[in-house]
């Protein structure tokens, strides 16, 4: 049994990086079961293949444009996750979408998939989240951990002083590889 919480997005483009900000928070403030890996995936694609192959659960945290108002929380599970990726025609072809398809082709897909997302407000150049999406950070952390717990894993809060002082830190959130 093993699970991955994968935050993706570009932290240089404000709300686009919200997925990374969520996993930074989780890694800094929670102790997780040993078989749960928290990954700051940035905007990478194929590089993540090893990390996702044959996991029991992968939770992707990302900005999602659904046509709903900015700040709307989105959760998807199971087949709806790859379906979302398949439907889009996007200039950003080298992301999670291709990664999931490649894993399917190799017969090494994660057994369960979930997506926790938020509709972004700003994609302007800058490290800070928009006010509206920043306000969603905590609910996104809670929702992500709730999905994790639903699948049988545990997460325990760590003492508050271990949280990062600067929310814009681009530093490491996990050791992998």
């Amino acid at each position: 049994m093993s699970a991955v919480i994968l935050g993706v997005g570009n932290i240089l483009l404000s709300d686009e990086g919200v997925g990374v900000r969520v996993v930074e928070q989780i890694a800094a403030r929670y102790r997780l079961d040993e078989d749960v890996t928290v990954i700051d995936g940035g905007t990478c694609g194929m590089d993540l293949m090893d990390e996702l192959a044959e996991r029991d659960l992968v939770i992707v945290v990302d900005a999602v444009r659904t046509g709903e108002p900015p700040g709307t929380l989105v959760t998807l599970a199971g087949e709806a996750v790859p379906a979302l990726f398949r439907e889009r025609i996007s200039p950003h072809q080298l992301g999670v979408s291709d990664l999931l398809a490649a894993l399917t082709l190799l017969g090494r897909s994660p057994r369960q998939l979930a997506l926790v997302g938020v509709v972004p407000e700003s994609m302007a150049t800058g490290l800070a989240l928009s006010e509206r999406v920043a306000a969603c950070l905590e609910p996104l952390v809670e929702t992500t951990l709730a999905v994790l717990r639903e699948h049988g894993w545990q997460a325990w809060p760590q003492p508050a002083d271990s949280a990062p002082a600067d929310g814009t830190a681009a530093g490491p959130v996990t050791a992998a590889g």
Partner: protein
């Protein structure tokens, strides 16, 4: 009557690129290349600590992470005149080579093979014939009948499930698709094997970089990998042996898979050696520094004019004035203020958006020139420079590749065939082999140096008062990359990245001369303007990376190709 084709976005690349072509009498008569996203890294870095710049620059793009990290630390070290320990050079070089191999393998199979290979045709192949063909070209053990057959079944199940995913947007059944079902199947088999092999290359980066996908081990002044064979937390002998094993695995695939496949596909499409040359002024920078200051290199770099190898003007060291003084960028046709070419140290990135204006501004990409001329960068430039410099590794890999082409085609193609759309794929495969040979060599150098008792990995930087300037270059998978930094009182005042796709995807420059993509598309035949596969073939052959890497999941529909009369 001319037709205007707009391909927006170009798919199977990183970032948002738009290509416009006018087609007359079945051939491209005019072309525009337009980067559709603004990358504001320069603004983000102003006022920051130069020691942290690489952490941010490796977030520019999801494909080129380590690439921008390496160029950034080199730029700051150049500003400080800071040499780095030998171990640090070697460890960085190992990361550079492994990353490049990963990138080239993914580019050929996952990103561009589908322009030439028809997956649906592979389903009709006779696996016995495909195995016989494969075994006539190489003794790769994974070319047998059973592998062909099981892959074909796997593909069929995948296609039948309707989840085309990575195979979506392929031009199946297009008249320009020419491979036999058996060759298509062979390529598809290696497509899947490449997915596994690229992980091996990535593993090397992960072990040395302490983390993946964003490496953590760099520092201005060296690397943060303590070397101690007695401690498990450091770079141990065990880890180094693991890397050696991974290196050997890569070599086997590069020589038996990649070079053979590119030679076979290229031979069947030999007519594509006639198209797509474009700008034949080639720029590359040296890489794989072999000493602490960066004055000797494992891979040469330089400038070649008009495809004539005898014109090579070498670039020989970090901070080489020939390179340093040769680069300028114009905004005349880019959505930024100003139009006169500026040196990157004085570069400005102030947006001035207009609509797409054919004769005016039409791209977020600036137009760089080298000593006043547009230049093509990338593996082709690098291989030509290697040959012109008498680099033995490049010559050996080129000979090997030409032998394989001859085995399929029955004749030996001249070197000039490389100046073309399909030639760029050949050059990339050759360069991948050169990187592998350097990877092996760098591993040995690291082992030998550690054996002398040298465990140094970092020289701490110190920043003076006042202004200093530095330039760091790196021959990245897509070509010459340079970062330019101006530091004042220990803080970044200006930062400019001149990335490989800036050179190749450049719009017209200050003198209205078109860039390499634009020039290479001229005279390309287009059989069906609604399905402009030929245009994609040439653009993909450059391995575009528009380096903005927004990652938003977007469910809104877009038209990829539009055609109108002009």
């Amino acid at each position: 009557m001319a037709k205007r084709i707009t391909v927006d976005p170009v798919t199977r690349i990183e970032g948002h690129l738009r290509i416009d072509c006018e087609v007359e009498n079945g051939k491209v008569s005019k072309a525009w290349s337009s980067g559709q996203m603004w990358r504001g890294i320069e603004q983000i870095l102003q006022g920051r600590d130069p020691r942290d710049a690489w952490i941010f620059t490796q977030r520019i793009c999801g494909v080129c992470t380590t690439v921008h990290a390496i160029a950034s630390v080199r730029a700051v070290e150049n500003a400080l005149d800071l040499e780095i320990p030998l171990n640090a050079q070697y460890i960085r070089n190992l990361i550079v080579a492994a990353h490049g191999i990963h990138d080239h393998i993914v580019h050929f199979y996952q990103l561009s093979a589908l322009d030439w290979v028809d997956i649906t045709s592979a389903l009709k192949a006779d696996p016995k014939k495909a195995a016989a063909l494969a075994q006539s070209l190489s003794d790769w053990p994974l070319n047998g009948y059973q592998v062909m057959k099981s892959t074909q079944e796997k593909l069929k199940a995948f296609v039948d499930s309707g989840q085309l995913g990575i195979f979506a947007n392929g031009y199946w059944g297009h008249p320009a698709m020419k491979l036999s079902p058996e060759v298509n199947l062979l390529a598809a088999v290696h497509y899947l094997q490449a997915l596994e092999v690229q992980r091996t290359a990535n593993k090397i980066v992960a072990v040395l970089g302490s983390k993946t996908p964003h490496i953590q081990n760099l520092a201005v002044g060296g690397v943060a990998n303590p070397i101690n064979f007695d401690s498990q937390a450091t770079l141990t002998l065990e880890r180094l042996m693991m890397i050696k094993e991974a290196i050997d695995e890569l070599g086997s695939f590069i020589y038996n898979g990649l070079l053979v496949d590119v030679a076979a596909v290229g031979s069947f499409y030999a007519d594509w050696t006639e198209h797509g040359a474009g700008i034949m002024d080639y720029l590359s920078v040296p890489d794989m520094p072999l000493d602490t200051a960066g004055t000797a290199f494992g891979m040469p770099g330089g400038f070649i004019r008009q495809g004539d190898l005898s014109t090579l003007q070498p670039i020989t060291r970090f901070g080489d004035p020939y390179f340093l003084e040769g680069v300028a960028e114009s905004n005349k046709h880019a959505w930024y203020e100003g139009s006169e070419p500026l040196h990157p140290f004085d570069g400005r990135t102030d947006p001035e958006y207009t609509d797409f204006q054919d004769e005016g501004k039409y791209s977020w990409i600036k137009a760089p020139t080298f000593h006043g001329r547009p230049a093509q960068v990338g593996p082709l430039a690098q291989v030509l420079c290697g040959l012109a410099s008498g680099d033995e590794k490049t010559q050996a890999a080129t000979d090997y590749f030409q032998d394989k082409v001859q085995a399929v085609l029955g004749e030996r193609l001249p070197l000039s065939a490389l100046h073309s759309t399909i030639g760029r794929h050949g050059a990339r495969a050759i360069r991948c082999a050169v990187l592998y040979e350097n990877l092996k060599e760098q591993w040995q150098r690291l082992m030998d140096n550690i054996a002398t008792g040298d465990h140094e990995t970092c020289n701490a930087p110190s920043f003076p008062k006042g202004e200093i300037r530095g330039m760091g270059f790196h021959e990245a998978p897509r070509g010459a990359l340079s970062h330019w930094v101006v530091i004042e009182d220990g803080k970044i005042r200006n930062y400019q990245c001149v990335v490989p796709s800036t050179w190749n995807a450049a719009p017209r420059n200050a003198e209205d001369a078109p860039g390499p993509y634009e020039t290479s598309l001229l005279d390309t035949p287009v059989a069906d303007p609604e399905l402009p596969l030929e245009i994609l073939r040439t653009v993909h052959s450059f391995d575009p990376c528009i380096s903005c890497a927004i990652h938003l999941h977007d469910t809104e529909e877009q038209n990829v190709v539009s055609v109108k009369a002009v």
